[in-house]
């Protein structure tokens, strides 16, 4: 049984979007992430689960180098995206973040109009040559984010005036507008009610066709619903990683079993 996932992994090596090996993250003297190795497949949803403070969000943020903004944070090891080490000195983190978009825990639209929220990324990256191209990008991003019907008549209204679920989908639209390859989502539904959550989950499932999605979630049901693969973190260690089905029905590690059965966490 223990061999099975390993063989799976070997098969998938050719189909790896993100490959992390021996990743260590330190906050000052605290060793927050220890020796994480993980391969993430393209065009799939990978869920990170684990109790609070286990380092899943921290690890997520190393994938687009958002941790660079924290002075005391230090990352060691190697994270390859399409075979390129993103911590290579030659890599500009800003360029990386255009390729690896992020959606945050709390919906954080800019205090600007809905249109400007979505158009901001394409504008700064020069993705549109003129106004009509920009309009097209905004429309298609909102469509992909399932927000077009609700937003098309109020594009000039402030994004902050929408409901929480709409705001979060606006943030997703904003992230996909720059046409990234990977989208990181840090507990995207934790501030949303069940109906909004269902809409966002549906959206994540649709986005899988075009994007590689990594999602951090506290809800195991959510992980089970949206992800193809699941990784369980505990105390900064990647305890177990595999197809979602296997993790939830047949966990290999005692800690994973305890967590998913609700014995701790």
């Amino acid at each position: 049984m223990k061999e099975m996932p390993k063989i799976d992994k070997a098969d998938e090596m050719s189909e790896t979007k993100i490959a992390a090996s021996k990743v260590q993250v330190y906050y000052g003297t605290t060793h927050a992430i220890k020796d994480v190795d993980i391969n993430i497949q393209p065009r799939s949803v990978t869920a990170f689960i684990g109790p609070s403070g286990c380092g899943k969000s921290t690890f997520l943020r190393t994938i687009n180098r958002m941790n660079d903004t924290i002075d005391i944070c230090r990352v060691e090891g190697e994270i390859l995206i399409d075979g390129e080490d993103i911590y290579d000195p030659k890599v500009d983190p800003v360029q990386l973040r255009a390729k690896v978009g992020m959606v945050f825990q709390k919906p954080n639209p800019f205090p600007k109009s809905i249109y400007d929220n979505v158009a901001y990324g394409p504008r700064i990256h020069g993705l549109a040559k003129n106004k009509s191209e920009l309009d097209e990008i905004v429309a298609s991003s909102l469509q992909k984010a399932g927000l077009w019907e609700e937003a098309k008549d109020r594009l000039d209204e402030p994004g902050t005036g929408m409901s929480g679920g709409q705001q979060q989908r606006l943030c997703i639209a904003r992230a996909i507008a720059v046409n990234p390859e990977v989208i990181l989502m840090d507990e995207p539904c934790s501030a949303l009610d069940p109906i909004a959550t269902a809409k966002v989950e549906e959206l994540i499932d649709e986005l899988r066709e075009n994007f590689t999605i990594v999602i951090v979630t506290h809800s195991m049901q959510q992980a089970a619903r949206v992800s193809q693969r699941t990784a369980f973190f505990h105390l900064g260690i990647l305890v177990e990683e595999g197809p979602t089905q296997d993790i939830f029905t047949n966990p290999q590690d005692k800690r994973t079993q305890d967590y998913i059965t609700g014995r701790f966490g």
């Binding site: 903004t69 002075d71 978009g101 954080n108 205090p111 990256h125």
Partner: protein, 450 residues
């Protein structure tokens, strides 16, 4: 009633207190009563404090307005007369030219008195005490406008400050002592002239537009020149301290690494905000005037000194408002691939703008009212000669500023200047208010972008 009968046995046998007593919600218990009382008391303190503040505000506004309003009026003596070419040539040929014009003036006065059927004996010395020596004013007018010779011209001659004071109530017959400036008997003449409409009270435009006069001429003193001086200084302060302050704050808040050196800078900025302004004055004297040889009394130097003084205020408030922008906005911008600078300039700065403007206006208001540093760089006690050509031309020409001008007036012995000082304060406050209103309008526009 049944409630109390039910609960009283419980209270008597509830000695072990394991059974919670039944209490009515309709009755305040002792603790609630105490808490409510203290809340009420605190509210009363607050209201008292506000009332005290309001009282002083009202007293201040009343005294400023009642003392300052007379500065905005002036008393003029209107005479219409004609100087012919012969009279002009004749006067110009004499040794005491102005005296000759005074003769023409006296003649015109008595003619006008006859027309208005005012029968009052007067001599030229009494008129001189009332309007000063009018001869020079008349002569200058005709030298400048020779084509008016032979035409009837209406002259508005400024009455002396004592007559001014008599008419606006500052002086009464009881507290005037006979002197070479004004005799009690002159007041009879003044009364008659007022009745005849020859002496009138009009709005004091020269006070708004003019420059300071010598100590012997309170009537001619104006605040206009120092308003211009203050305006120039504020422009210097605004265009230097806002960009420098905002740039420094953005760097310190968003980009600078946290280390001993930046800590030291932070401590120093906080300390600079508390440095007495006169220190900045002497620094400006040493650096800008003695070392850099910038001209004395120039608004540029005053502006530079006040910029130094305003910078810490602007930096502190700008940093506070940058800090108040939620970090989620920065994350959002970085998350879509904006660079740090783009995140700051596109998102953080617009959101911090209202706070920055508030800090700027506080800093500018402080700078506007500052007198002490200006004393040291010579922007004070300025008497205009040949106004307006000789100065207020620009940033490098000598000038004064409103608070320094007010200080100068208040320090002069002639009581008429005291009234000018109050009037100056009204102008200063109006200047300040319009500055604030402008800032509030700007801030509103930024706030709407939320």
């Amino acid at each position: 009633m049944s409630d109390t009968t039910l609960s009283s046995p419980a209270a008597s046998d509830g000695k072990d207190s394991s059974v919670p007593q039944k209490t009515s919600l309709y009755k305040e218990d002792a603790l609630t009563k105490k808490r409510n009382a203290s809340e009420k008391r605190f509210q009363a303190y607050g209201i008292t404090a506000i009332l005290i503040g309001l009282f002083f505000l009202v007293v201040m506004a009343y005294s400023i307005i009642s003392e300052g309003i007379p500065a905005f009026t002036r008393t003029v003596l209107t005479v219409e007369f004609t100087v012919t070419q012969e009279q002009f040539d004749d006067a110009e040929g004499q040794l005491f030219k102005t005296r000759a014009y005074e003769g023409v003036f006296t003649e015109a006065m008595s003619q006008q008195f006859q027309e208005k059927e005012i029968a009052v004996p007067f001599d030229i010395t009494a008129i001189e005490r009332i309007v000063g020596k009018p001869g020079n004013t008349i002569r200058q007018y005709y030298l400048a406008n020779p084509d008016q010779l032979g035409e009837p011209v209406e002259f508005e001659l400024a009455a002396s400050s004592r007559v001014d004071g008599y008419l606006n109530g500052r002086l009464t017959r009881d507290n005037i002592t006979d002197s070479r400036f004004l005799m009690k008997s002159d007041l009879d003449l003044v009364d008659v002239l007022v009745e005849g409409g020859i002496i009138q009270t009009v709005f004091n435009w020269p006070f708004i537009t003019g420059a300071d006069s010598g100590v012997d001429n309170p009537g001619g003193a104006g605040i206009g020149a120092s308003v211009v001086g203050s305006l120039f200084m504020m422009l210097v302060v605004l265009f230097l301290s806002l960009p420098i302050g905002v740039a420094a704050s953005i760097y310190l808040e968003e980009f600078a690494p946290q280390n001993k050196f930046t800590d030291l800078i932070e401590v120093n900025i906080s300390n600079l905000a508390a440095v007495p302004s006169i220190v900045f004055g002497i620094l400006g004297l040493a650096v800008f005037i003695q070392f850099m040889h910038l001209p004395q009394s120039a608004p540029l130097v005053g502006g530079l000194v006040l910029t130094l003084m305003t910078l810490p205020t602007i930096i502190i408030s700008t940093r506070a408002s940058l800090k108040a922008v939620p970090p989620s906005i920065r994350d959002a911008a970085l998350g879509v691939g904006a660079s740090k600078m783009q995140a700051v300039f596109h998102h953080v700065l617009p959101l911090a703008m209202p706070g920055i403007l508030t800090g700027t206006i506080i800093g500018l208001a402080q700078a506007l009212g500052e007198t002490a540093p200006l004393l040291l760089i010579g922007m004070v006690g300025f008497v205009a000669r040949g106004y307006p050509d000789s100065f207020v031309g620009g940033f490098l020409d000598p000038n004064s500023a409103m608070p320094a001008q007010i200080y100068t007036w208040a320090a002069r012995s002639d009581f008429a200047f005291y009234e000018k000082a109050w009037g100056g304060i009204i102008v200063l406050l109006i200047f300040l208010l319009s500055m604030n209103i402008l800032a509030i309008i700007l801030r509103r526009r930024f706030e709407r972008r939320w």
